[in-house]
Structures are given as C-alpha cells and as structure tokens.
C-alpha cells in the first residue's frame, strides 16, 4: 500500500510544481497579487509531498520490502541497516528522487529567507524553480519510477554495489547534489531578472549568498568524491578525469567564475550581462552533467544503467531550459555595458582574467568529455582522450590564475597602484623562491620538478593572501578589519594554496610499489619497514574477507599495523578494501593484491606525503564559501530595502 501512496505523492507534487511554476509567473506578468501570493503555499505543498515520497522509499528500504523492484535490485537481507539509507540513492531512480528532494529544500529555503524581497521578483524566482522541479518530477514519474512493484515479492534482493557500501557514500551524493542543485537558485534569480526586465544590480546582491552556499557544497561534494575514490577504488589516485567527475567539475569551474563575477557586478555594476550568462551556464552544466551521467551517451566507471528514453527526455528538457534561457538572454540582456569604468591595472581586470580562465577551463573539460561523441561524428571512432589531454591543458590554463591570485585583493577597484602592490607582495615572492630552494634540498630524491613548483606556488598564494590579511590588520581599526565576506575570500584562497601544495608534492614524492610478500617477510618502502604477518579469513556483516596484516616500523618503533582486505560480497562481487594510516604529512596506504602461489601475496604499498592537503584545501574552500555567504552586508542592505519598499513586502505576505 505504502509504495502506491509514494507514487501518488509524486503525482500530487508534480501538480503543485506545475501550479508553482505557471500561476506566480503569470501573476507577476499581469500584476495579479493573488496569483503571486500562491507561490509560497505551492512551494510548501510540493515540498511536503516530495518529502513524503522520499520517506516512503526510505521506509521500503528499512523494512526490506522486496516487492518494490528498486529495493530488490539495490539491497538484500544481509545489508546492514546503516547502508539501507544510502541504498535509497544508490542507483538511478532513487538518486533522482534525492535530486528532487534537495531542489525542494533549496526552494523552501529561498521562500523562507526572502520574505522581504519584492513580491513579483520572488514569484518569478519560485516559478522558475517550480519549472525545473516539474521537469524532474515528470522525468521520474514517466521514465524512472522508484515505486514500481515486482510481484510476487522476491524472497531476497540483489546487493547494493559493494563499492557503494562505504561511509563516504552516505554523504557524497547529498552534498554533491546540494551544490549542483543550488546553482538553480542563481539561475532562477537571473531568469527572474531577465523576465521582469529588472536588470539593476539588486538581484545580484540577493543571489550572491545562495551562489556562495551552493558553490561551497559543490566543493565539499567533489572533495568527498575525490576522497572516496582515493580510499575505495583502491588505486591511490584522487582524480581520474572520468566523465562523471568532469560532470561535477564543470559546474564548479563556472560556479567559481560566477561568484567572482557576481562580486564585480554587485559592487561596481560592471559585467552585468556576463553575470547573467554565467548564472545560466553554471546551472546548464549541472543539467548537462545529469544528462551525460544518466543517458548512457558516454561510458564511465560510475555510469548509471541507461535507457535511451531517459536520454531523450533529459535532452528535450535540457533544450527547453537552457535553449529557452539563452534565447531570453539574447532578447533581454542589458544592451549597454553599464558599471563604473576601470583601468587596465585594476581589480576588475584581474577578475575578468579569472573569469576567462575558468570558463576556458570548463570549455576545455567539456570538449574532452564529449570527445568520444565528436569522434563518432567525425567517423574516427569512439575514443577517450583521458588524463594525457586534461593533465596537460588544465594546468596550463590554471597557471595564470595561480600567478595572479595574490594581486587580486591588493589591487583596488577601478585603478590599482602597481608600485605599492609590488612592495607589499615582494616578501611573498621571496618566500616562495626560498621555499622552493629548501624544497629542492628536502625532496632531493624526487625525480620530478613538480614538488618545487608546488611549494613555490603554495607559498606564493598562501603568503600573498596572508600578507593581505596582515595589511588589513595593520591599517584598519579593530572591529572593521575583516568582514565575513573578506574572511571567506581569504580562507578560500588560502585553501587553494593548501590544495596546490598537496597536489604537486604528492605527485612528485609519492612512493608506489607492488611487492610480493611471504608471511613474516619484511621489505623496505620509502624508508619504512613493512612486515607482512599473513592473511586470515574474517566474516563481516555481509561479506567474507581475506584480511592481511601488515606491521609498519621505522627503525625499532612500531608506526602502525594495517589490515587491508579483499572482500567477497554475497552477490559474488569482489571488492578490495585498502587500509590507510593517515597523517597530516604522509599517508601509508596498503592494499591486498592477488595470492601468488601457496603462501605469498601481492601487496601494494604507497607512501604518499601531503596527500591529505588536497582535501584539506577543499575544506578550507568550503568554510570560506560558507563564511562569505554569512556576510551581514547582504542582510543589512536587505532590511534597509525592506523599509524603503514596504509595499513590496506586504504584497508578498
């Protein structure tokens, strides 16, 4: 009975989404306050029914109702209860429902926190969000119904893909989707501004905190995904330029450009059309990512089971949403450049360079990702270009960004003074060069030049941003030194320095070796002694594993004991589970390979210095994004506006 109710709830949610889209937008056009006022109740109603549907699907997993086909395909009796939650979004149908749920959470948040914005604008914003929700609900109901019955009920289900049976997966998709979907808010504000012809800078100020939060969550989602790939997929790599990773990375790149461009538009009035365009692009790339992942048009290690009908549906929806908004842009975008003039040496110029570089990088990633289809089209066959392409082009495009970042905060708006900036930044340059020389001495075994570049770049960016923080401390009276917006900027840029250090030092100094061990044999890797004790059988909650024991010693001191496993799940699927001794300055990563002969085993051992800094950098960026969006300035101006336009406020109520 419950699954049918779930489907019914989805249909009701679809009807409410349609109401939320059509009526308020029509009302805003006609100036009908009654229709405008319908937006919020529709939002609330839709959210209730979507949450109900999601709750019912979760309940079906918890109670193991194998009469629901989706539950039977993605869980079985032996699946521990804590993995039944992520199993809800472990495959296509459920993850789509999660997508819709998160869209509803964002919509409710926008409706709740923007009570003081002009009613017509909010009606359009909520209407656009309703349109997106309509499309996805229709998609779920027509092509991907998670509540489909399988009668008679199966006695037991298949298994959740063992790669997904991991704590990282509980958090990774929700965070990633929160970021993806969050760009729909900036998109909705941009479309609302275009629809209403209200192209002043006010809408940018209101959209900014939402964009920053979405960007922060996307950063967290990508960071978690990378961390998950590192310790679950078992190659010790952290980024593979896989189509699905690229699908999340493209919106991130454009989103990064967008938050910088929004800053310029809000503060100086420049780049208005560009900000609108980037808002459209960021969300379009989220939708395109959804299409690439779910249509089966590209092959990927994470690809969902595909169905051509799904591909066509998303493509049509993508065409309507993106094509429609780009046409609207072509018709309505601000005709005059607007904004205050700026000199060649100015913060505006630097931010423009940032924008160009990030958009180019996103285009480059898009080209590489679509390359297999382009290959088909040109008749040269379906081939992947892979890391040899991305790994070469991407750093080239990011090099100017890294070089210019420290100048950003020091350059003033409109016109910057070169000599004072140069004086202020000189210590950072000296420090970077000295650090590179020191790194050369410390990492003298490293064959590659990456470590020196990495140390120099990290110090250049990190010290540059620290010098700026110091300058504010010295020159500005207490209490006004750091606004949350500025603090967020400092944290995020500092995160980039940490990230750069992690990437390049790891790349240059990691030791990776595959060794054959007999029990109680000791071998040296990266200056540490690894003693292989042996392998024993252990029984997990829903798997049987060969568990190895490896003792790591530095001289006579026991550093750690690691237990890598090879797990055999009930669904006959093998999964290697590495064991990692993590540390701030180095990770020891041990994975069990194949048995070689009677007692010997292949064991893979990595010593990876600084690898965690990659993810620490992502966390800094997360905190930075959230801090910046908490700036009181966004709220203070809003309340000032509140008093100025009480009519708008009452119209909304």
């Amino acid at each position: 009975m419950l699954p049918e109710l779930g489907q019914f709830a989805l249909i009701l949610a679809l009807l409410l989404a349609f109401a939320q889209c059509a009526l308020p937008i029509y009302g805003a056009w006609r100036g009908n306050t009654a229709l405008i006022g319908l937006a919020r109740p529709a939002v609330a109603g839709q959210a209730v029914f979507v949450a109900l549907a999601f709750g019912i699907l979760t309940w079906a997993f918890l109670t193991q109702d194998f009469s629901v086909a989706y539950v039977a395909q993605n869980s079985n009796l032996s699946l521990p209860w804590y993995y039944r939650f992520p199993a809800v979004w472990g495959a296509h149908e459920g993850s789509l429902l999660l997508w819709i749920l998160i869209l509803n959470v964002w919509t409710v948040a926008v409706a709740a926190f923007s009570r003081h914005l002009p009613g017509a604008l909010m009606a359009r914003v909520l209407g656009v969000l309703g349109f997106i929700s309509c499309g996805f609900l229709l998609f779920t109901i027509l092509t991907s119904n998670p509540f489909l019955r399988h009668l008679p009920a199966l006695p037991d289900g298949n298994d959740l893909n063992p790669i997904l049976q991991d704590p990282g997966l509980i958090m990774h998709p929700p965070m990633l989707y929160t970021g993806y979907v969050g760009f729909s808010v900036a998109f909705a504000f941009a479309i609302a501004a275009l629809l209403g012809g209200q192209l002043d800078v006010a809408w940018v100020r209101w959209a900014r905190p939402w964009t920053n939060v979405a960007w922060a969550f996307l950063t967290l989602g990508i960071t978690l995904g990378s961390w998950w790939a590192y310790y679950v997929l078992g190659w010790g790599g952290w980024w593979f330029w896989d189509p699905v990773e690229n699908a999340s990375f493209m919106p991130w790149l454009v989103g990064t450009a967008l938050i910088h461009s929004q800053a310029v538009t809000e503060k100086r009035g420049s780049f208005r059309a560009w900000t609108i365009l980037l808002s459209i692009f960021a969300f379009s790339l989220s939708l395109l990512g959804t299409f690439l992942v779910r249509s089966g048009v590209l092959t990927s290690v994470h690809a969902f089971a595909s169905d051509p009908r799904r591909g066509i549906f998303i493509l049509v929806f993508l065409g309507i949403v993106v094509g429609g908004s780009l046409l609207l842009y072509a018709v309505r975008a601000p005709k005059v450049a607007g904004g205050k003039p700026f000199a060649l040496l100015s913060r505006e110029t630097l931010l423009l360079v940032n924008n160009l570089m990030f958009v180019c990088a996103a285009a480059m990633v898009l080209l590489g990702t679509l390359y297999p289809i382009i290959g088909d089209m040109l008749g040269i066959g379906r081939v992947s270009v892979g890391p040899p392409y991305f790994g070469f082009v991407f750093p080239l495009l990011m090099l100017p960004v890294v070089l210019l970042i420290p100048f950003g905060p020091f350059f003033r708006w409109a016109s910057a003074d070169w000599s004072s900036t140069w004086r202020a930044l000189r210590p950072a340059l000296v420090l970077a060069l000295v650090a590179a020389v020191v790194a050369k001495l410390v990492f003298r075994h490293a064959a590659s030049w990456h470590a020196f570049i990495g140390v120099a770049a990290a110090f250049w960016v990190g010290a540059g941003i620290a010098l700026y923080a110091l300058k504010r401390w010295r020159e500005v009276p207490a209490g006004r030194r750091y606004t949350p917006e500025m603090l967020g900027m400092i944290l995020a840029h500092f995160g980039l320095a940490v990230f750069l250090a992690g990437v390049l030092i790891t790349q240059a100094t990691s030791v990776e070796s595959d060794l054959s061990f007999t029990p109680n044999q000791t071998q040296q890797v990266g200056g540490l002694d690894f003693r292989f004790v042996g392998v024993q059988r252990v029984q997990g909650p829903n798997y049987l594993a060969d568990q190895g024991t490896v003792e790591v010693r530095s001289g006579d001191r026991l550093v750690t004991t690691l237990h890598p496993e090879k797990r055999q799940y009930s669904g006959q699927q093998m999964q290697s589970k590495s064991d990692i001794d993590g540390g701030v300055f180095r990770d020891l990563y041990v994975a069990l390979g194949e048995p070689l002969g009677d007692t010997a085993w292949g064991v893979r051992i990595y010593v990876k210095p600084f690898v965690r800094w990659i993810w620490f950098g992502g966390l800094f960026m997360l905190v930075g994004g959230l801090t910046a969006s908490a700036d009181r300035r966004f709220r203070a101006r809003r309340s000032a506006r509140d008093e100025a336009v009480p009519a708008a406020a009452t119209a909304t109520a």
Partner: protein, 180 residues
C-alpha cells in the same frame, strides 16, 4: 547578434548530443576502414612491460597471427572493455598482445594487478610513437595481424561480446582460410 552566440553554441552541443544518442542506438560498435587493412603492420621495437630490459619487434612476432590491443590504465573505455578481454582472451585462438599506450608502466602494472591480465605479452609505448605509426586515435583500439605481419582487421573503441561474435571471430576464422 553577439548575444545569440551562447544560444548558437548550445544548439551545436545539443546537435552533437542528439547525434550521440542516435549513434548509440543504431551502432553497437564502430568500424571504419583503416589505410592499414591488408597492408603490412608498421615496424616497431618496444620494451616489455614486465621486463623493460627486453624488447619485442614486429619481426619477432611473425609466424603466428596475433591480436594487438592498444590500452592504457588511464582510459575509461578500456576499463569497460577489460572484463570482455578477460573473458574472451583464451577463446580467440590467437595470441593477445597488449600495447600499453601513453601510460606510466608502474600504474599499468597496478591496474593489471587489480583487474587481471588477459594478455600473453605486453609492450610499452610510453611516448605513443608506435601508436602514431599504427594510426591510433585513442584507446582502446585492436588490430588483427596475420602470420605474415599483415593487418587484417581493425577495431576502434571497445570490444564487446556482440562485436567479437559478429566481426572479430569471423575475421580470425578468415585468417585460417587465407593462409596455406
């Protein structure tokens, strides 16, 4: 006009995606005639993956037909193809020679240790120069070379159970008839 540019760009991308979807439905695989078909395979001398002190050249492989599979541990499509090779390698009736293309040999060894090694011999083309001689666009690609060192069949993209049945196996069977 310039304001229409984003829209036009988007239309092009959509056209490409529609093409991709249609292609996927009508083509299970993609085969294009290669200028190498029925021509002698290009000369190469490449080191072995598991013993870089030894090299293997085109001449060393003469006398028996072989399949040359170009792959890389970085290549997502190869990962798709890999289980197929694992399942079929022993059934082809000819040697399966891997060419580890534009890849780091150590990473390739790890990749093979994790997913299994279907190859009889693996050659390393780290800088991709032999790949250029073979006209490799990207990985994976597979060449069927007969005992006289002549390329008889080429497949671009991943081998699947379907295209192995439909094309590769007939091509291998054909080898026996042509040879005395």
């Amino acid at each position: 006009m310039s304001r229409l540019l984003p829209f036009i760009g988007f239309v092009l991308v959509v056209a490409l995606l529609i093409f991709g979807l249609r292609w996927n439905r009508t083509h299970d695989m993609n085969w294009v005639p290669s200028p190498l078909i029925d021509k002698p395979a290009p000369e190469f001398t490449l080191p072995l993956l598991y013993d870089s002190t030894k090299t293997v050249s085109r001449q060393d492989l003469l006398g028996q037909p072989y399949l040359l599979n170009v792959f890389g541990s970085w290549c997502v499509t190869c990962q798709d193809e890999h289980p197929v090779l694992m399942a079929h390698a022993k059934k082809f009736g000819v040697r399966l020679i891997g060419m580890d293309w534009k890849d780091d040999p150590d990473t390739a060894k790890r990749w093979l240790a994790q997913f299994g090694n279907p190859y009889d011999t693996i050659l390393v083309d780290a800088d991709g120069k032999a790949g250029i001689d073979f006209g490799v666009y990207g990985a994976p690609e597979t060449f069927l070379v007969d005992a006289q060192g002549v390329v008889r069949y080429k497949h671009i993209g991943n081998l699947t159970p379907e295209n192995i049945e439909r094309e590769l196996k007939p091509a291998i069977a054909q080898l026996g008839k042509v040879q005395p």
